[in-house]
């Protein structure tokens, strides 16, 4: 608030939506420089046990038994209908020690699911309340981070290490939600002030709100739970099949595959023919003007200079949708289906 951030309530948190420079400046800072986000709302669980014996392997769609220590894997937990309970990242801390990072709004639901389906006696701890998270993202983030913690320079994409950061031994992973080179720092709750101040003291760093985080993730077509994923939407319908290992056994697998065989809704990514942006709740129309689906995420894309949207085409509508129309009772805008991500030149794997 000292920076004059616009705050919004989100899942019981007061979140910085944007700082005074505006969302376009924040976007540019991330795509060309380095931005920091306070993402302390995210949930973290610690689990101890052999992946298979403790039941974690059955909860998550990605294979875990062969996951190397020091790496992260992105996947989902599914319900019995093949819908998505949450999307999450699994950190293998040690051969039999795991951290699972989940969405803020789903912490209680996820904790109940894990507790119910982990083998009895498995050590499970919800450490969300003690764990803050600061994201450092952008093409300059490696240099910014290395100034504080030289060791992070060698971190490969989707790996992590324990590093001493301003006197605290913490997990730093090379992960993020913007499509740029970036890091997430899991920091003790209540001590992030010094970390935030140290990062922002670097003139290359721009403090950034969560409004632009949504713009950035839409530009690279990352799903946001409650939009592209939900209890009703399967990861295959959301186009996330590469994070689902159907060769292994996991909860929800049978229904997931049955729904996939029968054909369900299909995700579509599209770019507006104008600067006008699709919004969640807009309808998607076929070129003939028939309602064929709905928009789940949309924004103006500063990188493309056009509106971009993500939506689902209903099961009944088959065939390729190259040209579509989005809008509501007041407006109709032409758009074209596009390959993901919309923004293709991020520094993610730099």
């Amino acid at each position: 608030m000292a920076l004059g951030a616009k705050m919004v309530p989100f899942g019981g948190w007061e979140m910085p939506l944007q700082y005074p420079d505006g969302i376009l400046k924040e976007h540019e800072a991330n795509r060309k420089g380095c931005s920091v986000f306070d993402c302390s709302h995210m949930g973290e669980f610690l689990i101890e046990g052999d992946a298979v014996a403790c039941g974690l392997e059955r909860i998550v769609t990605q294979p875990l038994a062969d996951q190397p220590v020091g790496t992260c894997r992105y996947g989902m937990a599914l319900n019995a209908s093949g819908g998505t309970i949450d999307d999450l990242i699994v950190y293998r801390l040690a051969p039999e020690k795991w951290m699972v990072v989940v969405n803020a709004a789903n912490i209680a639901k996820d904790a109940a699911h894990f507790r119910a389906h982990l083998a009895s006696g498995t050590r499970f701890e919800d450490v969300s309340d003690e764990t803050a998270k600061i994201d450092v993202q952008g093409p300059l983030s490696r240099d910014v981070m290395a100034a504080l913690v030289p060791g992070v320079r060698d971190l490969a994409y989707y790996t992590f290490g324990i590093f001493r950061v301003l006197g605290e031994d913490v997990i730093v992973s090379r992960t993020g939600y913007t499509g740029e080179l970036g890091y997430e720092i899991y920091y003790p709750w209540g001590r992030t002030g010094k970390l935030w101040d140290a990062l922002c003291a670097d003139r290359r760093v721009h403090p950034t709100g969560l409004g632009v985080r949504d713009v950035l993730r839409i530009e690279v077509c990352y799903p946001l739970y409650g939009h592209e994923l939900s209890e009703e939407i399967s990861p295959l319908e959301a186009g996330l099949g590469r994070f689902v290992d159907t060769g292994k056994d996991f909860m929800g697998r049978a229904e997931l595959l049955r729904r996939d065989r029968e054909g369900g809704r299909r995700i579509i990514h599209f770019v507006s023919a104008s600067r006008r942006a699709p919004r969640q709740g807009h309808a998607i129309f076929s070129a003939e003007g028939v309602v064929a689906g709905d928009v789940v995420s949309g924004t103006f894309s500063p990188a493309l200079g056009a509106g971009v949207g993500i939506g689902f085409i209903k099961k009944e509508f088959t065939g390729a949708y190259k040209n579509i129309i989005f809008g509501d009772e007041k407006m109709r805008v032409d758009a074209q289906a596009a390959s993901r991500p919309f923004y293709k030149t991020g520094s993610l794997r730099a």
């Binding site: 944007q18 505006g22 969302i23 376009l24 976007h27 409004g211 632009v212 949504d214 713009v215 104008s274 600067r275 006008r276 942006a277 919004r279 924004t299 103006f300 500063p302 509106g307 007041k330 407006m331």
Partner: protein, 137 residues
């Protein structure tokens, strides 16, 4: 906050500057600040008739879309074409170069339904006091 003394205002944060029966319309500093970076202006059609407090157009910012209402009734005689390529002009100069449309006013008496600069200033203070969300958001 910038409030031009001789303009009239709506509670929806539009302004109108009346000169010789023609009203120039835009949005206030409060509105542009609440919207943030404006990315699209759906310019109204010249010659269209508008009614007082009915929708004149809409503007979009990165994360939202907002309706803009006409402060008075009349016929649109001019629109600010510069906003097509440079919608951010509203952010930079909302009370002057970022005007949206000019209206040939059909009923000058309607101006009594609008707020003076002083009244609008007090209205903004009351919003701050009550912590009300801006209805344009």
């Amino acid at each position: 906050m910038d409030i031009v003394e001789h303009y009239l205002y709506t509670k929806e944060h539009e302004w109108i500057n009346i000169e010789d029966g023609v009203g120039t319309v835009g949005i206030t500093e409060y509105a542009q600040s609440a919207l943030g970076d404006i990315t699209f202006v759906d310019l109204p059609h010249a010659e269209a008739e508008v009614e007082q407090f009915e929708q004149l157009t809409s503007v979009e910012s990165v994360k939202s879309a907002s309706d803009i209402f006409s402060p008075m009734s009349g016929r649109i005689i001019d629109v600010n074409d510069k906003l097509s390529d440079d919608p951010g002009l509203i952010n930079r100069s909302c009370c002057d170069k970022g005007w949206i449309a000019r209206i040939e006013i059909s009923d000058m008496d309607e101006s009594s339904n609008l707020l003076t600069a002083a009244e609008y200033g007090s209205y903004l203070e009351s919003l701050d006091r009550n912590g009300d969300a801006d209805s344009d958001e």
